[in-house]
Amino acid sequence: MSPFPFPNAATELAGKVDWLFLGLILISTFYMALIFGPMIYFLFKYRRGKKADRSSIRIHTWKVEVVWTVIPFLMMMGLFGWAADLYYQIERPPADALEAFVVGKQWMWKLQHAEGNREINELHLPLGQTIKLTMTSEDVIHSFFIPAFRIKQDVVPGRYVTEWFRPAKIGTYHLFCAEYCGSDHSLMGGNVIVMKPEDYAAWLVAGAPRDNLAAAGERLFRDLGCSGCHVGSSVMRAPRLEGVYGGPVPLASGDVAIADDQYIRDCILLPASQRVAGYSPLMPTFQGRVSEEQIIQLIAYIRSLASKRPPEEMNK
């Protein structure tokens, strides 16, 4: 765990970041000793009026220069490697994560759990579970910052970004917005609450959501009229959505897209941009008709169809 008594380090990765930070402090101290030590010594020894040997230096200065060029260079590369390796771990979510979804807007965080529970400016988490957040913004750029986890990710409108962590300590931690976002930027935050798994399960039940995220998406899918074209076998007006998620989609442009969250989002808001091969450009845009949270629900529904196949194929 962390070499420091504070700040709170509530994940294993936070401890690793603290070790790197300590390494940097030690290297900095080494350099400061190397620079200020001789400097202060020279300032005393060679101050004007004091007797000292001031004759010209008879060494090849280039040798000295090469030494203090090459050694810092090697140390810099070492630091880079250490930090880059840890960064890779921080930025790559493991596959087995629980999912939650975050929408930032001026000036609040709106959170949805896969089970359907919704929160504002609070995020309840089970201890020891890997959590992956998928995040976007309704307006300007925000940044989801949990100091106790040593993680931060800018939340950018128009795209999905992810952040992951595995809480290792029960407690309540700060949640901040770290990217300046307007008047009440400094009030855009709240708490992350790490609970025992059984308490978390009880909390989920107590929230008593009407539907889980995918079911809410399915309802929306019908209410918005998506099902009119994407379900039913009579006319081939729109592609079926069963088994689509996560796979390749051949596009009318000849390219192949991967049907991930971003692609589905773009299809809902900008249907003309990445049209599926073999279909006419009939789909209207839903820009302005669905909120970012609803898009997340729709994606959750489409993802829940990933392992299914269209009914008519099953009948063959």
Binding site: L24, F73, M77, A83, I90, Y180
Partner: protein, 543 residues
């Protein structure tokens, strides 16, 4: 043996100099004399500095309490925007180049003026026009975007006078470009015959590198601000995703200018420090060629590291790694400079006049600023500390601890040349020490609270950070006194300071061969090029 230099006390004849040549307002506002333009810049940037310093003082006062003392959220946001915009574009960028550079570059190379004196004057007028736009935008209500103008907040969501302020910065950018162009051509074409590139003072190498950045990077800033304004006025989708744009594109363009601009705000300080360390230790600079090339290396590498501002922006993590490794490379030439300055002291004959105190303070503060840059270049640590007070502390150590300290050192060093008068030495030494102490008390606590997670640009904050804010505000008060003192005694010295003579520091360099203040055309008799740059003899000057 080196011949012992004989210093003759020069009796100042009452000849006409550049200050006494004319006294009308017109003779100042329409002057093409590089020395007068330098002073026009000095006067203007001090006004901008004062306004920005008042903003800083208000913010530091406000931050004494976790939930604010007397400012609205909007007001606080406008204050840090105006502090950043004025300090970066209207104080730091012109500070050493446009004030000291304008004044001493032609003198250092034995020239009568810069290559294009009228362009030089135009540059100051553009600068003032830009400044007028910015001040006007503040008077009519201010801007709340931060000096970084991140989209889509600036282009779509902010309800403040973004266009006015951006227009001011856009216009002032042309002043930077003209100054950079002028310096490059001046240094290329107007050096005294015999002054080869490797016989130039290192200040000129740093000015040359800075000028390259000014002319190559500033146009990108102008384009970026223009695109942002087009989106704001005509809703042309460039950066706002709702209009089909990409907000991250803005950050790439902005930092492509603004990271090199950081080096505009440190290289000139390094140039000054090379002059000071050498003069006050009576030693030729150690590793001249390495220090000179380090300036060029910093200027070139500075163009390749902009993405290190964007490690958590959602840019590709592999791009992040490339920018991280390049950022570590910039540390190497910076370290070379610091090592060479330290080595210059070895076997020197060191005295501690105020300019030297500023030079030593520069080395100390720049070293801390540079080393904490290693923390920020470390990808995994940056994820935690970016956008916190750690970053605020880091760049103030570079920009204030480095550049402003370098500027103060240079201003004291060349003050006798500029005015013909000496400033009061004891008082100046005291001020240098107060500034050093006040600076550290202001900004060191910010490293700690940054690592503890205090985000920047926060006006309401969690109570556990209050102690660090109190320390910081206390330091800022001391720092304020430290900056007021020189203002008072320098003005006092204009009338009451001792007559300086041509070369009060017994410094090497052509600017010290002419009288103080210099005549209108700089040299009454052609200057004599010394045998080598930094022609100092510590043994001879050991008493």
């Amino acid at each position: 043996m080196n011949p012992i230099e004989i210093q003759t006390v020069q009796v100042q004849p009452e000849t006409e100099n550049y200050l006494s040549a004319a006294h009308t307002v017109r003779s100042w506002l329409l002057t093409t004399d590089h020395k007068r333009i330098g002073l026009l810049y000095l006067f203007s940037i001090l006004i901008f500095f004062a306004v920005a310093a008042v903003a800083a003082a208000l913010m530091r006062g406000e931050l004494l309490r976790p939930h604010g003392a007397f400012l609205l959220n909007e007001t606080y946001n406008k204050l840090f925007t105006l502090h950043g915009v004025l300090m970066v574009w209207f104080f730091l960028i012109p500070s050493i180049p446009a004030v000291l550079g304008n004044f001493v570059i032609p003198l250092m190379i034995g020239a009568r003026d810069v290559a294009f004196p009228r362009l030089n004057l135009l540059s100051w007028h553009l600068f003032m026009l830009g400044g007028a736009f910015v001040l006007y935008s503040i008077i009519v209500g201010g801007v709340d975007t931060g000096w970084t103008f991140y989209t889509p907040f600036s282009s779509t969501y902010s309800n403040t006078h973004v266009i006015l302020m951006a227009a001011g910065i856009f216009i002032a950018g042309f002043a930077s470009i003209l100054t950079g162009l002028n310096f490059i051509i001046t240094i290329h074409t107007m050096r005294l015959s015999g002054m080869t590139w490797f016989r130039m003072p290192l200040f000129l190498w740093s000015m040359y590198s800075t000028s390259l950045i000014l002319i190559l990077a500033t146009p990108v800033l102008a384009i970026t601000l223009a695109l942002m304004a087009m989106e704001r006025i005509w809703h042309i989708g460039i950066f706002d995703p709702k209009l089909g744009g990409d907000p991250i594109l803005f950050q790439h363009l902005f930092w492509f200018y603004s990271h090199p601009a950081v080096y505009i705000m440190i290289l000139p300080g390094m140039g000054v420090v090379s002059e000071l360390i050498s003069c006050f230790s009576r030693k030729e600079i150690f590793g001249y060629a390495w220090v000179a090339m380090a300036s060029v290396a910093i200027a070139v590498l500075g163009f390749l590291v902009w993405g290190h501002h964007m490690f958590v922006s959602s840019q590709s993590i592999y791009a992040g790694m490339v920018f991280s490794v390049l950022s570590y490379l910039v540390a190497v030439p910076s370290a070379i400079k610091v090592f060479n300055w330290t080595a210059t002291l070895y076997r020197g004959s060191i005295s501690f006049e105020a300019p030297m105190l500023y030079a030593l303070s520069f080395i100390g503060l720049f070293t801390i600023g540079g080393l904490t840059g290693l923390f920020l270049a470390a990808l995994a640590v940056d994820v935690h500390v970016t956008d916190t007070y750690f970053v605020v502390a880091h760049f103030h150590y570079i920009m204030v601890g480095g550049m402003v300290t370098g500027f103060m050192g240079g201003l004291h060093f060349w003050w006798p040349k500029i005015t013909g008068r000496l400033y009061p030495e004891k008082l100046a030494q005291l001020a240098a020490l107060i500034i050093f102490a006040g600076f550290n008390l202001t900004f060191f606590p910010q490293f700690i609270m940054g690592y503890l997670g205090m985000p920047r640009r926060y006006h309401n904050y969690a109570p556990e950070f209050q102690i660090y804010h109190i320390l910081s505000t206390a330091g800022a008060s001391i720092l304020g006194i430290g900056y007021l003192l020189p203002l008072i005694y320098l003005v006092w010295s204009l009338r009451h300071g001792k007559i300086a003579g041509a070369n009060p520091w017994k410094a090497s360099g052509l600017e010290w061969e002419t009288s103080s203040p210099p005549p209108v055309h700089n040299f009454d008799t052609p200057p004599q090029l010394p045998d080598k740059p930094y022609d100092y003899h510590p043994e001879a000057d050991s008493e």
